[in-house]
């Protein structure tokens, strides 16, 4: 009863604000109307520089096997530790055999190798920031304005696409003119402020500028708890629940399928300077966990998966050669993963070159042949039919979308 009251209140406030066109008053996620068939987009940011050459294995490159004697993934064969065949040139890391390989074969997963930014600092923070800001790297940077926030702003209208960051802090990608709620679903605990206390606290804010915010905050909290109650029930009966990123991904899916159209989540742990492993080992475990999470997300989305696109990327790839510690160092070009029911998968798309010593960028890394903004621009165009000028608002100064027919 209480919750419904909050939701109605929040809806009123927002609708009124929208009707009046009051700037600075923005939709809070809890008020978004669930509409079947509306496009959904989740951005999964792998922080730390994931080794693209272990995920998407350049199996036709003899140079790859030459310069990675201890960590290369073997060419596809009957051996379970070998790469899974994708195309004549590419294979997939075997840790993804059970989770994502079926999606690829079903045509719901594609890859864009040689992708990334023109930021050459090879600094995690700087490159992560420049990706999230989505602005021209050498231009005048506006801190605190991320590309997903600008995308959400373009999607405001009669049926706004509600954005949500599933993180503790609002990531740079979601910062900006539009108010975006954020809640990490990694470690959920039951709120200590109970329903009665919540309503008393909310009453203190009546008539203040934060009235709507406080109400929708409690509404989002209650909604998260309601979505999670099934999970908690199962746990209390001793059922084995998902762990780590899989658990988080399932939670995100439960919220996104009903309420949110634009999501952001980040996954760390990709900075593999030492002993990264090959078909098994540290990196393989990280890929396994990520793959299981993404597969769980696709299941949990249910029928909404049909309209969903998930893009996974990292700030940069790593050195093409293994280093003296059987790991890899900070590189440049990386790979974008594009998956979803709406995706035209089973392909490795974008500008590509054969990997040889001569095609290495700065004798070190994968080159960036597919600027990430042009790839995302192509996807956004397909998903929402955005115009060129809208895309240029989202990605100021970029050369234009490259439509690789991914959606």
């Amino acid at each position: 009863m209480q919750r419904r009251h909050f939701l109605r209140q929040a809806l009123h406030t927002t609708a009124a604000a929208a009707a009046l066109g009051i700037p600075g008053v923005h939709l809070h996620a809890a008020t978004a109307v669930a509409s079947t068939g509306a496009p959904k987009f989740l951005f999964v940011f792998l922080r730390g520089g994931m080794d693209a050459a272990s995920l998407l294995v350049p199996t036709s490159s003899s140079f790859y096997y030459e310069v990675r004697p201890e960590i290369a993934i073997a060419k596809p064969s009957a051996d379970l530790a070998s790469a899974l065949p994708l195309s004549a040139d590419w294979g997939l890391h075997p840790a993804l055999r059970e989770s994502l390989y079926p999606l690829y074969q079903q045509g719901e997963l594609a890859f864009v190798p040689f992708s990334g930014t023109d930021d050459l600092s090879r600094s995690h923070f700087e490159t992560q920031d420049s990706i999230e800001l989505g602005q021209l790297h050498n231009g005048s940077i506006q801190y605190g304005s991320g590309f997903l926030n600008r995308l959400a702003a373009q999607l405001q209208g009669p049926k706004p696409a509600a954005p949500m960051a599933f993180t503790d802090q609002l990531p740079i990608a979601m910062q900006g003119g539009l108010r975006v709620p954020n809640t990490s679903l990694r470690n959920l605990s039951k709120p200590s402020v109970d329903t009665r206390q919540s309503s008393i606290i909310a009453a203190m804010y009546k008539g203040t500028g934060l009235e709507g915010t406080v109400q929708s905050g409690f509404a989002v909290r209650d909604q998260v708890m309601r979505e999670m109650s099934a999970e908690m029930d199962a746990a209390s009966r001793g059922a084995i629940t998902a762990k780590g990123f899989e658990l988080e991904a399932r939670r995100i899916a439960r919220l996104m399928r009903e309420q949110y159209a634009l999501g952001f989540v980040d996954v760390g742990g990709w900075d593999t300077h030492v002993a990264q492993g090959g078909a098994t080992g540290y990196l393989a475990s990280r890929l396994d966990e990520l793959g299981q999470g993404l597969a769980a997300f696709s299941q949990e989305m249910g029928s909404a998966w049909r309209n969903t696109v998930v893009v996974v990327m990292s700030e940069f790839g790593r050195t093409f050669r293994q280093n003296g510690n059987r790991g890899t160092d900070h590189g440049h070009g990386s790979v974008m993963w594009v998956l979803g029911g709406a995706v035209r998968g089973k392909q490795v798309v974008g500008e590509q070159v054969q990997m040889t010593a001569a095609t290495l960028f700065q004798n070190r890394d994968y080159a960036v042949l597919n600027e990430y903004r042009s790839v995302l621009g192509g996807i956004f165009q397909r998903q929402w039919g955005l115009s060129d000028s809208q895309l240029k608002t989202i990605f100021p100064g970029f050369k234009g979308a490259r439509d690789w027919g991914l959606v």
Partner: protein, 516 residues
């Protein structure tokens, strides 16, 4: 409530301080003219100039009067922490080890662990190195919070936070976690109320900043513009401060060779360059990496040679009128309002010009301005301030034993100390902090503090002991000063509390507790 004489307090305060500004130091007697009892007005003023009003500071204000109290804040001496906060700080590694010793020791540990051949050994040695860095960063954060909570120099402590944010560095770059303590304590705190030029110099030459903004990579022929750009855009002139891309490049050339040397030895230099080499601890100016060709900055030739060029450039930047305006606006935004009145900023900038950037004088102009003294409490508290002010109010001068829960709350609300990745620092305005999710988190924190079960009095270590300590929010200060400033809706909520814990929770969750 006490008689209305207090509403006049701002007037005599302005007069007294205006006099001080004009005619240098006056005898202290001139400032002891009136007591300043705890009233809603005095409470609000006190709440704005401290990390958060509490009974202890309210008593000080009452005894000394506003003018004397403020004078002591702007010229702090012997800011001694109460025991056991003092003892906690004294026993820290960062208090006992010099920056140079600490950095060289950590660098050796890093090299030793990298040199290990066995993967398992190497991994655990590298983990130990990271853990030690984390521990050092936590010491800095702990010291920062203990001072915010208990230092008598409340304005200086807030300015230390302000400059940490203005000259932001990020803890997880390189080995910055080992440098933070010194950066805060040697470069920022001593100059927090001093001359801006001195502060700027201390920051510019500190290895934490040089590493954070990559100037240790900046060398003739291999220019890295990162620091030069932020130095003008974020630290001094402001983005519209009247410089060009060419100025950025020229300043970057001025800054070539200014860097860090984490080794014990000095580099081999060509003989004729030896006289220009400078080494101070791990700070290094390497003339062999410096661009010796003539340069022009903001229309003027850069005079000097080697490091003298940098000092000349910093003089130019610190004295530029754009810097006075840019930093004055930021100060007014931090202390007073998201949209501070332009006239007040202009007066602050005028003080800046008249005093060659004496920060205490600029703050005096702000704190004594009618726009400040008479302003309603509309400034939304950022997470750090919300947490610190709430703990100050709840426990007054009873020193907490564990800042861990506070660090955790600040992290949950997205404003960890030294945790801002971008050089622009955390936002100063409400929109950065008042989202729905963050407010819900605040209410959870209000309950944690209000119910007294947060673990603030639980010691760290293998055998933690917890002292029972119940927050005392319903005290004399509340009845004298706070109650009168609460809205009817907040009072109604407090009346519905079923227990003292719940009453505390509602008070800390009230709209009035979110603003100052």
């Amino acid at each position: 409530m006490l008689p209305s004489a207090h509403s006049l307090a701002p007037l005599w305060l302005c007069a007294a301080l205006a006099g001080m500004q004009a005619c240098a130091p006056l005898p202290p007697a001139a400032f002891n003219s009136a007591a300043a009892p705890a009233t809603p007005q005095n409470y609000q003023w006190l709440n704005r100039v401290t990390w958060g009003a509490n009974s202890h500071t309210a008593r000080q204000l009452e005894q000394q009067g506003q003018a004397t109290w403020l004078l002591q804040q702007l010229q702090p001496r012997d800011a001694v922490l109460p025991e056991p906060a003092r003892e906690a700080v004294r026993s820290m590694t960062i208090s006992q080890t010099s920056l140079t010793d600490l950095v060289l020791k950590m660098e050796q540990q890093r090299k030793d662990s990298d040199a290990l051949k066995d993967d398992t050994e190497k991994k655990s040695a590298q983990q130990a190195y990271q853990q030690e860095l984390n521990r050092l960063a936590r010491e800095s954060a702990t010291r920062h919070l203990l001072r915010a909570l208990y230092s008598p120099a409340q304005v200086q402590e807030q300015m230390t936070w302000f400059w940490l944010n203005h000259f932001n560095v990020h803890l997880y770059k390189h080995n910055l976690r080992a440098l933070l303590g010194d950066y805060e304590n040697s470069a920022l705190r001593p100059h927090a109320l001093g001359r801006f030029r001195d502060l700027l110099g201390a920051v510019t030459y500190h290895p934490a900043m040089l590493r954070y903004l990559d100037n240790d990579q900046n060398a003739a022929g291999r220019i890295n513009e990162n620091f030069a750009r932020e130095l003008m855009e974020l630290h001094t002139l402001g983005v519209d401060g009247g410089y060009t891309q060419k100025d950025v490049q020229e300043l970057a050339r001025v800054l070539t060779g200014v860097g860090v040397n984490m080794n014990t030895g000095n580099p081999n230099l060509r003989k004729e360059l030896n006289r220009l080499y400078v080494r101070r601890g791990v700070f290094e100016f390497n003339p062999q990496r410096h661009d010796m060709a003539p340069k022009t900055l903001l229309g003027n030739p850069v005079t000097g040679e080697g490091l003298a060029e940098v000092d000349a450039a910093l003089d130019t930047l610190a004295r530029h009128p754009s810097t006075a305006r840019f930093v004055s606006r930021k100060l007014a935004t931090y202390w007073l309002s998201d949209n501070p009145p332009q006239a007040l900023i202009d007066r602050m900038a005028a003080t800046w010009k008249a005093t060659d950037g004496q920060i205490a004088k600029v703050l005096e102009t702000l704190f004594t301005a009618p726009e400040f003294v008479n302003a309603p409490p509309t400034k939304f508290k950022d997470p750090v301030r919300y947490v610190v002010s709430s703990v100050r109010l709840a426990y007054d001068d009873k020193v907490i034993l564990n800042v861990g829960p506070m660090l955790n709350w600040i992290n949950r609300m997205g404003e960890p100390l030294y945790g801002r990745q971008t050089p622009d620092g955390y936002p100063m305005v409400a929109s950065g902090w008042d989202s729905a999710g963050q407010l819900t988190t605040r209410f959870e924190i209000a309950k944690a503090i209000g119910s007294g079960s947060a673990g603030l009095f639980k010691t760290d270590g293998p055998q933690p002991t917890e002292k029972p300590a119940f927050p005392q929010l319903a005290n004399a200060l509340y009845y004298q000063a706070i109650q009168g400033s609460l809205s009817p809706a907040t009072r109604a909520a407090l009346d519905q509390a079923n227990s003292p814990q719940e009453w505390n929770t509602f008070l800390l969750a009230a709209p009035e507790s979110m603003r100052r």
